[in-house]
């Protein structure tokens, strides 16, 4: 029973260590072959557990894991054509780069000559040729990561599993290594499953982003979909860049709802996923922070939603200025104003402004 390709299917995966709390609570997911898939979520959401179950270092309490169409539950890691890259890299400190990379071949009984050749080829691929004889302690973090990658990839796995590979690096290095991972994935042509808690990282490299909370998948899809069209409050808030506001439907007009709250009047939001909502319902809706325009009260007007507010804080972020306004109920209201626009007529803390947006940019949340 050979695993032919790196497509993965998780069917009804449940994991519980003590019989009561479920670390993974019913996960169903399909990942096509050769995809770069990121599992995104806070600590404890179950993403690492799922990774380890795919790798074979843990077994699911219930459910099936199919790799390349075959159910692999119960198989040892080496039989699954998967390879794992550990968070701490776990490079063998007593072996040099070449021997670390060749380790998998060594335990399979491959001869010394052949091992060396294969390892050197791999070292070329990750561009570490001059460092082949160094010990891990003599390498930088980025170099160690490349060794860990090469070590995992040498066995020709169909799926590479990465457990928070960039968390140990500092900001600049992280951005650099991100591209390295992307490149490797395309080069090797296999499925990568990458676990992280950093949203920007996930949306930067993933073909598929899987957002998780408390053992369940909240939303899975291409990065743009998840970011621009979050389905619920959790995903919207986790991915960032969105204002999530709550209000009560005053009335329905056609395919839109008119929403009110103590701070807002007549905010029009297309019904979207809440097609069955009726007047009186409390709903959440999202509007991207960079879709919120701020104008001084004297200028106001138009088709757009108008929410009067006051500037509470201003943070310069380079390309844009983050303007934090008074809360709507318990929700933050934040506008990202392009810096050139902002500085034509800069606001100060305490200024009264009108926040507005186009109705089509709003999105009803589940």
């Amino acid at each position: 029973m050979a695993v032919e390709n790196g497509s993965i299917e998780l069917a009804g995966i449940v994991k519980s260590y003590d019989g009561t709390t479920r670390v993974v609570d019913g996960v169903n997911l399909r990942i096509p072959d050769r995809a770069y898939c990121c599992f995104l979520g806070p600590s404890g959401c179950g993403k690492t557990t799922i990774l380890r179950m795919i790798a074979g270092h843990e077994d699911p309490t219930h459910g099936e894991i199919l790799i390349g169409g075959h159910d692999v539950v119960g198989l040892a890691p080496v039989e699954r054509r998967t390879a794992m890259m550990f968070q701490s890299y776990a490079l063998f400190p007593h072996l040099n780069v070449r021997d670390n990379i060749a380790f998998a071949l060594r335990v399979r009984g491959v001869g010394a000559q052949e091992r060396r050749k294969a390892a050197d080829a791999m070292i070329e691929k990750v561009r570490l040729t001059e460092l082949a004889d160094r010990l891990p302690a003599q390498l930088s973090g980025g170099q160690q990561q490349r060794v860990a990658l090469a070590r995992a990839a040498i066995t020709g796995p169909k799926v590479l599993l990465l457990d928070e590979p960039l968390s140990a690096l500092d900001e600049q290095l992280r951005v650099q290594m991100r591209q390295e991972l992307s490149r490797m994935q395309r080069d090797l042509g296999i499925t990568f499953i990458h676990v992280t808690h950093t949203q920007l990282e996930a949306i930067a490299i993933a073909d598929i982003v899987v957002v998780m909370e408390k053992g369940k998948i909240k939303q899975a899809g291409p990065a743009r979909d998840v970011y621009d069209q979050p389905q619920d409050r959790y995903v919207a808030e986790f991915l960032g860049g969105q204002n999530v506001l709550t209000g009560r439907i005053e009335r329905i007009e056609g395919d839109s709802a008119i929403i009110v709250s103590p701070e807002m009047r007549d905010v029009v939001v297309p019904l979207g996923v809440r097609r069955t909502a009726s007047a009186g319902d409390r709903v959440d809706f999202a509007i991207r922070r960079d879709d919120v325009d701020l104008v001084r009260p004297e200028r106001g007007g138009g088709e757009r939603a108008k929410v009067p507010s006051r500037v509470r804080a201003i943070e310069y972020q380079g390309n844009f200025v983050k303007v934090i306004l008074d809360k709507i109920g318990d929700d933050e209201l934040i506008a990202y104003v392009p810096d050139r626009v902002f500085y034509r007529d800069p606001f100060s803390v305490g200024d009264v402004v009108i926040a507005g947006w186009e109705k089509d940019k709003t999105r009803m949340l589940a």
């Binding site: 260590y17 690492t48 557990t49 380890r52 270092h57 843990e58 077994d59 968070q87 457990d163």
Partner: protein, 291 residues
């Protein structure tokens, strides 16, 4: 990250631990049982035994005034040895951990302290003679500098000499575990205490000392068990002036009084084990060691 290592249940654990058990049983459990058994039989006075159960041996030990004298003496030595080795050992460890800035240097100095441990005990004992003896270096130096007129008798072959020898031998047993415990203290807690205005003595009293409890306990176990079980240090360093519990039953063996020796030995072992258990109650050694 959860790391539930798969593979190999508790049967593997038992297989791995078997050799250890196979050595400890015949060379620890069985001899103890043998000694205990022998303490309940009668001696025929000539090195043989009459197989009959008797409590006479224990009666003899408990009613003999000598027993209490010996235990008193041995306990006194234990306390003194423990106290001074703890005092010196604690401050040496403190110096190495908190005052020596270069960790490599600290390690080096630490090793320098441990090296004598790796040399023969007996050699170390006879080495006191040229130093502490009546014609030894110290006496000569003191006489030459006119501090005293007559050589001090008390430096060698006395109770003082015994304590000196014990402390010399046993301080290292205090230094090692205490050093280990101290090195584990997060330096930032000390810094935080300094920030809050604590003086260095207060830091030692309220932070360092409590966190070293395990090390002190471990060291105490070593010191107490070694002193209580010793006989040749006392014999040599006191010049025969003092005896110890073990020394006494060593003499008994010498005259083939096995059962009485066995009774004495059993009582001593029980006492030492009780002391150790008492110390172990104050700290959870297993958790600390395997942390």
């Amino acid at each position: 990250m959860e790391s539930k290592a798969k593979g190999g249940g508790s049967s593997a654990g038992w297989l791995l631990i078997l050799p250890l058990v196979l050595i400890l049983v015949p060379f620890f459990i069985v001899p103890i049982i043998g000694v205990v058994a022998a303490s309940f039989v009668q001696s025929d006075g000539f090195g043989g035994i009459i197989p009959s159960f008797t409590l006479d041996n224990y009666k003899g030990v408990f009613t003999s005034g000598l027993t209490y004298q010996l235990y008193w003496a041995t306990l006194k030595f234990s306390v003194f040895a423990w106290f001074f080795s703890l005092l010196i050992g604690f401050w040496i460890a403190y110096f190495l951990v908190f005052h020596v800035r270069n960790p490599l240097l600290a390690l080096g100095l630490f090793l320098i302290c441990t090296v004598p441990f790796w040399t023969s005990n007996i050699i170390r004992m006879i080495s006191w003679i040229p130093l502490l003896g009546k014609e030894g270096l110290i006496n000569s130096a003191l006489i030459k500098t006119h501090v005293i007129d007559q050589p001090l008798d008390v430096l060698l072959f006395s109770s003082l000499a015994v304590v000196i020898a014990y402390v010399h031998q046993l301080t290292i047993f205090m230094i090692v575990p205490i050093f280990n415990s101290m090195a584990r203290i997060d330096k930032r807690t000390i810094e935080a205490a300094r920030d809050a205005g604590a003086s260095r003595f207060e830091i030692v009293r309220f932070i360092v000392l409590p966190l070293c409890k395990t090390g002190i306990a471990l060291g105490s176990i070593f010191v107490v068990s070694i002193v209580m079980g010793d006989f040749f240090v006392v014999k040599v360093m006191s010049g025969g002036g003092s005896a110890s519990v073990v020394g006494a039953f060593y003499e008994d063996i010498g005259v083939l009084q096995y059962p009485t020796a066995a009774a004495s030995a059993t009582i001593l072992t029980v006492i030492v084990l009780l002391l150790v258990v008492g110390i172990l109650r104050t700290v959870d050694i297993r958790k600390e060691l395997t942390r």
